[in-house]
């Protein structure tokens, strides 16, 4: 079952499953996504080459267990930035038939996807599992800044400070939901702000 809620432009996130025809596997995970990686290896240890890039996030750190479970090709990295830099290097040596698996927050997954896109891997060629936080990246349509990790129904734009209402519209290219000034028609009138994407 998919977590969170559903809109038509929102990508489908599933549970990670090995692609049986793949000739090699690349798994990129963050924080709670480490659990998704462990579940993958619980299903089976594929015989094709495997590379795993993992970075802990907040309290979620599966590094120690992953070291025991992943036989080879595991890279533990300190930050998301390091993961993305390593990913660039790893992708350069890979061939068609490699399958990409991503697990983590929505912010993280779309940062990874952006790097993969540069190498000609399209959205359909990646599997994504949303783990940990349901926090969303919000793109402000007015000032074009993206605010990361928004957990509330209405969020303040990190760029221009406007209060943004989140439209049910997702851009894969920007990796973010569309945010629109909530009180444009009646300045100052704000509905109650609630945490709905913990």
């Amino acid at each position: 079952m998919e977590r969170g809620y559903w809109i038509r432009s929102k990508p489908v996130y599933t549970s990670l499953l090995w692609h049986e025809k793949a000739t090699s596997h690349l798994v990129v995970a963050q924080g709670q996504g480490g659990m998704a990686v462990l579940k993958l290896f619980q299903l089976m240890h594929p015989k094709q080459a495997i590379t795993v890039l993992y970075t802990p996030y907040a309290e979620a750190d599966y590094s120690k267990t992953l070291v025991k479970v992943v036989p080879e090709g595991l890279h533990i990295l300190e930050t998301e930035q390091e993961v993305l830099a390593k990913l660039e290097i790893v992708l350069q040596g890979m061939c068609m038939g490699m399958r990409l698996y991503i697990a983590g927050s929505e912010d993280f997954m779309w940062s990874v996807a952006k790097v993969a896109n540069k190498f000609g891997i399209e959205d359909a060629g990646m599997m994504k599992e949303l783990t940990g936080t349901l926090a969303r990246p919000i793109y402000c349509v007015h000032c074009k800044a993206t605010t990361h990790g928004v957990t509330t129904n209405i969020g303040e734009c990190s760029g221009c400070g406007r209060m943004l209402f989140v439209r049910d519209h997702f851009s894969r290219k920007l990796g973010a939901y569309m945010g629109l000034m909530i009180d444009a028609e009646s300045p100052g009138e704000l509905p109650e702000i609630e945490e709905i994407y913990p």
Binding site: H19, K21, A22, T23, L91, M94, C95, M96, G97, M98, R99, F119, G120, I121, E122, A124, G125
Partner: protein, 317 residues
């Protein structure tokens, strides 16, 4: 459907079985430009009956002065390719559709692998010119029966130089698909056009190597084929139409004076899709368009290539 009136400006025998035709517009005006991989449907009057066959446009997409097609004489022809070979000569007038592209290059691909078998080389002829113009990374792998059947090999050599790889079956040369497709960089797309076993082999090999579906492209026009005669009822027109053995359902419908939509006439594009209102037997689906579930449901049929084996078949036309 808008048609273009053309006349034949040149005919050339390219191989023992392949003829190349050059078309110009009857009114002398330029043709529209087109994209690599496009085809046109040529209408010909064969003994009082209109045949419409799709042929890939060759030559440069930027050359709007003339269009070029090549026709292989089919042994099991229903008349179209034989007519082109035996009755069409310099000066003959014909009608063609505007170009349609059901086999276009993936513009975001990082590399293109083109695989042709025999006359399947034709859609690639125009694509190669686009790829060269765009400075794209590509390889062409061209397999044929024997050197005398390797149509356009010299021309291809000039366009592709070292990117061309030829395989003559008579000389024991074989294309090793597994080796070719297992070492391609990320972002590669593969395209195949040729005889059915080759198309199937390329698709299956790429799939088994984990290639995503949308990186695998094929073009395979079906010819309507010869079957058992049957009868159809057209509900809206309120007439019965007899479909003879050597005629497609679409052709029979047109011959009866009923206007039906169509585009590729090869079971690919889906434009001629018709709703089946009633049937009491088997629908013989031959198209590549409907899903297996749709074929099994029996509510739709593509009259350009499909047939039926039943006593009663009512179409929403």
């Amino acid at each position: 459907m808008s048609m273009i009136d053309i006349k034949v400006a040149a005919v050339e025998q390219v191989t023992p079985l392949v003829k190349h035709f050059t078309f110009v517009k009857r009114d002398g005006s330029p043709f529209p430009a087109f994209s690599g991989g496009s085809h046109v449907v040529v209408s010909m009057n064969v003994g009082g009956r209109v045949h419409r066959n799709p042929y890939s446009l060759m030559g440069s997409p930027a050359d709007t002065g003339a269009y070029h097609i090549s026709v292989r004489k089919q042994e099991q022809s229903r008349g179209g390719s034989v007519f082109m070979h035996e009755n069409v000569e310099v000066g003959t007038s014909l009608q063609i559709t505007y170009p349609v592209n059901l086999f276009s290059l993936a513009k975001k691909a990082h590399k293109h692998i083109l695989i042709a078998g025999g006359i399947g080389i034709t859609p690639f002829m125009s694509q190669l010119i686009d790829l060269n113009r765009l400075n794209a990374n590509f390889e062409l792998h061209y397999a044929f029966r024997s050197p005398e059947h390797g149509a356009f090999a010299d021309q291809l050599k000039a366009i592709c130089s070292s990117k061309l790889h030829c395989y003559a079956d008579s000389k024991g040369e074989r294309l090793d698909l597994l080796a070719l497709l297992s070492k391609q960089p990320l972002g590669t797309h593969v395209y195949v056009c040729g005889p059915n076993p080759m198309v199937v082999a390329v698709i299956e090999t790429a799939r088994n190597l984990g290639w995503p579906e949308n990186h695998i492209h094929s073009e395979q026009f079906l010819s309507p084929g010869i079957g058992e005669p049957f009868k159809i009822q057209l509900a809206k027109s309120n007439i019965e139409v007899h479909v003879p053995a050597e005629m497609s359902m679409l052709e029979a419908i047109e011959a009866a004076g009923v206007e039906a939509d169509y585009l590729c006439r090869g079971g690919v594009c889906g434009r001629c899709e018709v709703n089946v209102l009633e049937s009491d037997g088997a629908l013989l689906h031959h198209d590549h368009f409907l899903t297996d579930a749709e074929k099994a449901a029996g509510k739709k049929i593509m009259p350009c290539v499909s047939r039926a084996r039943c006593d009663r078949l009512v179409l929403d036309l």
